[in-house]
């Protein structure tokens, strides 16, 4: 009853704040913050006429390094990852524990979000068709980064007295550095990461999602919700509240089940739209390649396209951010490498498959009908590309967008929570306070416009890559040793295969 009283109080109080111009007030207040944070995180160095943000360079170099250091695990590990997900190596005696498939599905529904639909449109608008090529490259290289971080997440997790587990970058950073005699520094970067993931959870994993879901809803209903961002926000916040605080598992269970089907549904219709524009396919594909290397019409040329592509890819698949390793830590396995292997499928599904498909929908639409989207950007642009071929599609797309946004918010609420409990301990009261803050930000996300919000959430997420990748470099030899040892035992048959032998 108490929970409902709190919910009611929030619902009653917030509209009072929503006087005319509330949206504008928030926008005016957040814009300078966004600019300041953005300038700090995306410190740019001018190079060959393009502005290269150092943090993107940091991510790209990291991803390339881990790809080579792990001997192209993103290629040879792929088959084994599928076998693991299929359950070939699952011991029947462990039935009832979290399976590899479940860990992957949960992590994927955390990453497959609005970024796959709207973020790609942003990438193609700013970086031209060539950004798609670099998006795919970034997805490919990101598989290795993901492998390293998820292996470490399992290896260095904490098992709580109540049987639950807490893992993720804050744990491997602090423990890993401490093992190498840098305990103080480890504690510092662990704490820094925890703060970053907490704030990031409120941005990329929360406000950005609810904002884009609102934009799409408003767009599809023909502007019915103009200026009613606060109302949509409150409804969304109430549903999130019901799941993460009210413990209404059924809502979460339903979304978690629907999201994978939505993803398949989305890809299916996207492919149909692409083939309906079949005459435009060759030109759209060639635009991707020429754009990637010549960067025609893009600020900063080919390098500009590369930067945008990489930036959007990371924003979508989260490789290098370390968030997925929090979800993967929950799997009860004696072999950390298995979770790493499974996780390398995430950038593949998220970026190489889903983002590329979205990019092709937009690319073919742009070739067939230049200026199809008017001045629409983000998810509205993707929606317009679909609408050109299937007039009713914006409606299911809006529903899919809402569900993607919702599942991403649920996953990120957990990531942020783990950052919070790392900082403040596992006490139940603290956890509830965090969850309340999270709900408030869901509502807030719907009243701020895309510009400043995207800048803030981008910046914060990229910021935590810095300590995370630093830790990955230091701990890479440990991952390499684990991986080699594991593969020796797989080949010798010491690790038993239970199915499809």
């Amino acid at each position: 009853m108490k929970k409902f009283a709190i919910a009611l109080a929030i619902c009653l109080l917030t509209p009072q704040l929503a006087m005319a111009g509330f949206d504008d007030t928030i926008n005016a207040a957040t814009a300078p913050i966004a600019t300041a944070i953005g300038a700090l995180v995306f410190f740019k160095i001018p190079i060959f006429g393009a502005d290269l943000p150092l943090v993107v360079l940091w991510l790209v170099i990291g991803a390339i390094f881990f790809t080579f250091r792990m001997g192209f695990v993103n290629i040879w590990g792929f088959k084994h990852a599928i076998e693991l997900v299929r359950g070939d190596y699952a011991n029947p005696d462990d039935a009832g524990e979290v399976s590899h498939f479940q860990a992957l599905a949960t992590a994927v529904s955390g990453t497959v979000g609005i970024g796959n639909i709207g973020g790609v449109a942003v990438a193609v608008t700013v970086g031209g068709p060539g950004a798609t090529f670099w998006l795919i490259m970034a997805g490919f290289l990101g598989m290795s980064t993901k492998f390293v971080e998820c292996t470490l997440g399992v290896k260095y997790r904490n098992e709580n007295p109540d049987g639950s587990v807490s893992g993720g970058p804050m744990y491997y950073l602090s423990k890993g550095f401490s093992e190498r005699g840098m305990a103080g520094f480890g504690r510092f970067v662990g704490t820094f990461y925890a703060i970053g993931i907490f704030i990031g959870a409120l941005g990329i994993g929360n406000m950005f999602q609810s904002n884009q879901a609102y934009v799409q809803l408003n767009n599809v209903t023909g502007g019915m919700f103009d200026g009613l961002g606060w109302l949509v926000g409150i409804v969304m916040a109430a549903v999130v509240f019901a799941v993460i605080i009210g413990g209404i598992k059924s809502i979460a269970a339903v979304t978690e089940k629907i999201v994978p089907f939505m993803a398949i549904f989305y890809c299916f219709f996207a492919l149909i739209v692409i083939f309906m524009n079949f005459a435009a396919i060759p030109e759209a594909v060639s635009n991707v390649f020429t754009g990637a290397f010549t960067g025609e019409g893009v600020a900063g040329g080919a390098l500009g396209a590369l930067i945008i592509g990489f930036q959007r890819a990371v924003f979508s698949n989260e490789a290098g951010i370390g968030s997925a390793s929090i979800a993967h830590s929950a799997v009860r396995t004696n072999e950390p490498v298995t979770e790493g292997m499974v996780s390398l499928l995430e950038p593949f599904i998220d970026t190489i498959v889903i983002c590329t498909i979205t990019a092709m929908v937009i690319g073919t639409a742009a070739v067939a009908n230049p200026g199809f989207a008017g001045d629409a950007t983000g998810i509205a642009m993707t929606s317009a590309a679909f609408e050109g071929q299937i007039s009713w599609f914006p409606v299911p797309l809006a529903i899919a967008g809402m569900l993607f946004a919702f599942s991403t918010m649920i996953s990120w609420s957990y990531y942020g929570l783990k950052g919070w409990t790392y900082l403040f301990g596992e006490a139940a009261v603290g956890q509830t306070i965090y969850k309340l803050i999270f709900c408030v930000f869901v509502a807030l996300g719907c009243v701020v416009q895309l510009g400043p919000i995207l800048e803030i959430s981008d910046a914060l997420v990229f910021l935590i890559c810095v300590p995370n990748i630093l830790g990955l470099y230091v701990l890479a030899p440990i991952v390499k040793r684990e991986m080699d040892d594991y593969m020796v035992r797989i080949r010798s048959g010491e690790i038993r295969r239970f199915k499809n032998a």
Binding site: A95, S164, E256, Y414, Y415
Partner: protein
């Protein structure tokens, strides 16, 4: 190795009748019983990260509840009737796991109760005895 019957136990009335039938037959023929309870679970289901983190603890709780509330009373009934028995609890697809247990224990027969559900119900949700009959490596006795 002594002969064994596997009895599917889930605490329902149907499973009690199946247990009774198995006890009667086991006593008459001097066969031991394996009381099996399966917790329906799929490795291909979807969960929130929070549920994943709590999964190990939940699993322990589920196993404990199954032992205390379902297998314990059934075992007591069998023991009181003077039939030797052991218990097994596992997660998985009910019919599949029952077959696995039957194979492991080299059982000669599986006993299972039924709910007596309607045609529509069976069409929609299937029935455990129904799939067990199709899959089982040994004879299955479905007790009404």
């Amino acid at each position: 190795m002594a002969e064994v019957f596997v009895v599917a136990v889930d605490g329902s009335e149907g499973s009690e009748r199946a247990l009774q039938k198995a006890i009667d037959l086991a006593k008459a023929t001097g066969v031991g019983l394996t009381l099996a309870h399966v917790i329906e679970w799929s490795p291909f289901s979807f969960h929130t990260p929070d549920e994943l983190a709590m999964r190990h603890k939940r699993r322990e709780e589920e196993l404990e509840r199954a032992r205390d509330a379902i297998l314990g009373p059934a075992e007591a009934i069998a023991k009181a009737a003077g039939v030797g028995c052991e218990t097994v609890v596992k997660h998985g697809h009910t019919a599949e796991v029952l077959c696995e247990i039957a194979e492991q224990k080299k059982a000669s027969q599986i006993f299972i109760g039924r709910r007596g559900q309607s045609k529509v119900g069976t069409l929609l949700f299937g029935s455990v005895p129904g799939s067990l009959i199709q899959m089982s490596p040994v004879s299955v006795t479905v007790v009404p």
